[in-house]
Symmetry: C2
């Protein structure tokens, strides 16, 4: 009998393409080394998680006469009551009362991540192109890489806003080369974005909608609004692509989640889709992948969505995250990071702070600065991971989510100490 171990295992084209992503190493580090101060992990704050609330809700659900249905299979698209609550949430945002979404246009997924993955599967072949922002969510780049799809950056101005002259030039170029036929979606992170912490101004959204309407193709817009509900003081006032008239008739996928604002460990996200054919195909793939997100976790969130305890919880954690961000921001300033030539905008929501070092300063994995931070005992996400192409190498993504207030100050101190010791242009 010939030992099979010597025969080579054959993978699919996709299987051959796969390589380990950066996030796996970062997450493993954060989980396995409790001594390191992680400004890298996009985790929420353990002390703010709604553990008592969840226990309370599970106890209530268990007392219902038909309670055990929450441990049974549910619908592939998600619980009707939760999908109705999502439609209600969307119409509840200021200025969006007119959104014509109902529960049949909502898909519940394993975090919004799974919906991004499935949308990309049904829209894009290997070699196709998705337009993204500069910077954009680096885990979505992993999705694209896995599926063999190329991210292409929307041109941007020095202030981070979209460069519409540049965009028109880019579109002309794509049309002339025929590459416009490979362009299959536009991916936007519009509220307290990962990683930039920026919100997209409504004016830019409107202008972008007009550009899309002028194309000869129907370009689907994937609007990722994961952090929309995690503002610190006031909601960001821009309407979503679901309600802006400039997007009327375009296929819109609006992706949100209950992971970040409620419980990351429950992995419940949602997508609203204005195109029934697109949604139908996504539901087919969802049925193939797992035929429905866990009914149990959905039932917990449905309950708190319907009786107001979700909004009540949110109103408590918003100032909590606002305070933590303030501490990180202040500590970086007080330790003298601006004096070293670094710059950043103070975030108004989310858990991330995006900072730029002077040109020439290298923040990448393996750089002097990265290694210095590691030996100080502090972790961050190198900003170059967040760009589709021509990545600047002088940005960092810092998270205020995980660490306690004291440890945030300590992490900022170590981070700035590393920046000082590394020096300009390192």
């Amino acid at each position: 009998m010939e030992p099979a171990v010597l025969k080579q295992l054959r993978f699919s084209t996709m299987g051959e393409r796969l390589t380990d992503p950066a996030i796996v190493h970062l997450m493993a580090n954060a989980l396995s080394n409790p001594e390191i101060l992680s400004l890298a992990a996009g985790f929420t704050d353990n002390t703010a998680l709604p553990l008592d609330l969840v226990k309370e809700v599970v106890t209530e659900l268990a007392q219902r006469p038909d309670g055990s249905e929450i441990l049974q299979y549910g619908m592939n698209s998600g619980r009707p009551g939760l999908r109705r609550a999502v439609a209600g949430l969307l119409k509840g945002y200021s200025g969006e009362e007119s959104i014509g979404i109902d529960e049949n246009q909502v898909l519940i997924s394993n975090g919004s991540q799974q919906a991004l993955y499935i949308a990309t599967q049904v829209l894009c072949d290997p070699g196709d192109i998705v337009l993204v922002e500069k910077p954009s969510y680096f885990v979505y780049f992993e999705v694209l890489k896995g599926l063999g799809v190329e991210p292409l950056s929307l041109p941007s101005l020095p202030n981070g806003r979209i460069d519409f002259d540049g965009l028109n030039t880019l579109i002309d170029r794509l049309c002339r080369s025929g590459d416009i036929n490979r362009l299959k979606a536009l991916y936007l992170v519009t509220y307290h974005a990962n990683p930039s912490a920026r919100c997209m101004p409504e004016e830019d959204k409107r202008t972008l909608g007009k550009v899309l309407q002028s194309l000869d193709i129907a370009l689907p817009v994937i609007e990722d609004a994961a952090y929309r509900d995690l503002y610190f003081v006031d909601p960001y006032p821009a309407q979503s692509t679901l309600s802006l008239p400039e997007y009327a008739g375009l296929p819109i996928l609006y992706a949100g989640t209950f992971t970040k604002p409620f419980a990351t460990g429950m992995k419940v996200g949602y997508t609203c889709c204005t195109d029934q054919q697109l949604l139908g195909k996504m539901l087919n793939v969802k049925g193939q992948q797992d035929f429905g997100t866990a009914n149990f976790t959905q039932a917990v969130i449905e309950t708190v969505m319907h009786d107001g305890r979700y909004q009540e919880y949110l109103s408590k954690i918003r100032p909590h995250y606002g305070r933590k961000m303030k501490i990180l921001h202040n500590a970086l300033e007080e330790e003298g990071l601006r004096e070293l030539g670094w710059s950043w905008d103070e975030p108004t929501g989310g858990i991330l702070l995006w900072a730029g070092a002077p040109e020439g300063f290298d923040t990448r994995f393996g750089s002097t600065f990265y290694n210095s931070c590691l030996s100080e005992g502090v972790l961050y996400v190198p900003g170059d991971l967040c760009f589709a192409e021509g990545s600047p190498t002088n940005f960092v993504r810092l998270s205020a989510g995980v660490l306690s207030e004291d440890r945030l100050r300590e992490a900022a101190r170590k981070f700035v100490r590393s920046a000082k010791s590394t020096g300009q242009g390192a």
Copy 2:
């Protein structure tokens, strides 16, 4: 402004391939008649679900000092404690004490379904072939269809066992035509299978292993053991491909789940993989799809796995499902289905009963018999859905999982009445 709604939305090759699965048809029939008695749905029994136990565990977890970690992100591969428990479960089966699996070879997924999907993604390109049994799990056929992969049946004998002469002939044919290069996996459902309710005899497994070792390619084996723990009286004694020496050195993916035996609504499954490269690629895709199954549901199951309450619960539901199956089996006999020429083996585990009508009898969607059952108010899964090719049209899959004992008897009565009224060869 040209209305974008007139522009055609472009899907990927995969997106274009997708069509609504058969189960949509069944669900539509079920929804249009809420009174219908479903022998079709593969649901477990609401009255047997561990609702009080889950409430109890959540309450306990909420009292732990570090309790809130269960609402936080976990590792992409799953909770280490749950993965250790899975390794322990596998080594705990009689005859499998020698299995060399540890927690680093275990992946936790959203039911075993997601692991089947991801394994197929990393192994198979569109146009590739997966060997399956006759019959096989029809939801896996949907996975294959979605990914553009062709199922090909293992030749079988009239008693349902593998026809090894036929298999050798098939392999010769694949080698001569070069199609062996497209053959990428073997998918087996080995314990109280969906849909056949059969267990694969250890002798057949061993012979099959020898055939696989004789191939020039390293053919991965996906062993789906979803119902292994749901035996009625005694565990089926066959060892798994993880421990049989005939499979040594072959890439084995052993997929199990806590959905069927514990709670379908929690969607927690697991896969053990003997090939680190294959597992690594699957983990990459898992990271892209959702970076880890919900930590919360995993924590509940981890707890009952470690303290014995899982096995205690199983020991209570085994006789429950055994009794329900006995009722279905007896009712079909007492109503006279065998006298009509139908045949089936009484299942020894699981929730499914697989019955064959006489040759020429048509059980498909839209057949006289199917429609007669619909008007009687009883639903079943037509057996032709469960074959890769050359589907016989005279089989049915009946589930004893959902209905109460009284309603099971009533459903069997209606089913047999339809069979009588439809008559031979209809």
